[in-house]
Point group: C2
């Protein structure tokens, strides 16, 4: 196993950072790495917003559900799906708005944008971690996207998908055990054997329950399935379809 | 600049591979690396299908638009968004279907699944490239998802998002220049200065036109904006919303 793979397997989210900002050189290396990820048909359908302004960071931390590490870190990035640039490029070529509307409005184009943005973000993460920095993705940024997009002045057809806190780790958390490989990796087709899948999930539930129990002196013993059931029973961000529609992304 | 970042910046898609299969150990390292990526609320909302069966690979190559490197490679992965496992986990906990339906049907949950899957895939790519392997994402897998999902027997709430060819490179292509950093990376808010953005795109168009011209002895001189306009004028995969709906992903 080479050092890069060891680094990947050693990933954990870092939620507490030293009081040291990233240099502009570090930020550029991270952004360039993000841009080097594969992109569907060369569309590069994302914009990355780096937030340095302290009051904006505080506001984003609040909007993301009072997560302190959104404000206190070495740098904060917001990864945005961006179809606005494509629209602009097509207009530069004299394409009429109604001609390109169907493509821009499609569910497929939205998927391309989300995938492109996420691939770029994960490259940014690897670049950051290779420099000894820690990271935490901030999905909580989607809690209140109307406010976030106002604060960051994102135009139509641009969607802030998630934040990324980066910085020098103040505390190392533990890596969290993942699903059994056999449950996630199937060969030649999706494994439709429900009883096998259930057995795997139940074995994993024991692993996770022990993991939490060891770390909390027995106070917490959640199984994975239990956590997932709770998550699904409290649906989140049900305004998303309305928000996307307002931003001219009607998922047609 | 460290070696990992150099590797990231050196990425190019590889479409021609030596006739040498990946070992099971390599495949496992790639999948484990994928699983180590961050995951929203621990959902791990993906399944990776490795395709070894030669006739299935041929069929997938055909479905993806006759791309030979879908069949001829060291290994072929299909990355699937998977909300079926979450549904199963919640059922194991005794959650009633109608209780969890709203979460599973939401646009937000779909976005979580797409992002989770893409982050995992990009980690798989980094692991592969760190072993000296080349890769190519296959978005063409989405050309005919009804057929693909039949072939791979994916259940409801599972969506094959893209393929990934991996193998030892037979030919090294060139890295392709990305958008100017200032066009993609904005500070403290989205840059709304259209004339500045247009200037950047036009400068980039020159770079891309020269790039193609140099490589084709002047036969091809496409600008990036031109390519994007053509792409948008030929909308693709407009069946996607219908397909997702059929798979019980109604994007509510």
């Amino acid at each position: 196993m080479n050092d890069t793979i060891k680094m990947l397997l050693n990933h954990r989210s870092i939620r507490s950072y030293k009081d040291e900002s990233l240099t502009d050189e570090q930020i550029h290396h991270i952004v360039q790495s993000a841009q080097s990820a594969a992109t569907s048909s060369y569309v590069q359908a994302y914009t990355i917003i780096g937030v340095k302004d302290a009051s904006k960071k505080e506001k984003l931390a609040e909007l993301a559900g009072n997560q302190a590490y959104v404000a206190k870190n070495g740098h904060f990035f917001v990864f945005c799906l961006d179809l606005h640039r494509l629209e602009l490029a097509a207009e530069l070529e004299g394409a009429a708005a109604e001609q390109i509307e169907q493509a821009l409005n499609s569910t497929e184009m939205f998927m391309i944008g989300v995938i492109d943005t996420a691939l770029a973000a994960q490259n940014a993460v690897i670049a950051a971690e290779s420099m000894g920095l820690g990271i935490c993705y901030i999905g909580g940024l989607r809690n209140q996207l109307d406010e976030v997009s106002k604060l960051l002045q994102t135009p139509n057809r641009v969607v802030p998908l998630f934040g990324l806190s980066v910085g020098y780790p103040a505390n190392l958390s533990d890596t969290k055990p993942r699903l059994p490989l056999a449950n996630v990796y199937h060969e030649d087709g999706y494994n439709q054997d429900q009883s096998e899948l259930v057995d795997q999930l139940q074995a994993y539930d024991q692993v996770i329950s022990s993991y939490y129990s060891e770390r909390t002196g027995g106070a917490r013993k959640d199984r994975w399935s239990e956590a997932m059931a709770k998550l699904l029973q409290n649906p989140k961000r049900l305004y998303m379809k309305r928000f996307l529609n307002d931003k001219n992304i009607p998922l047609e």
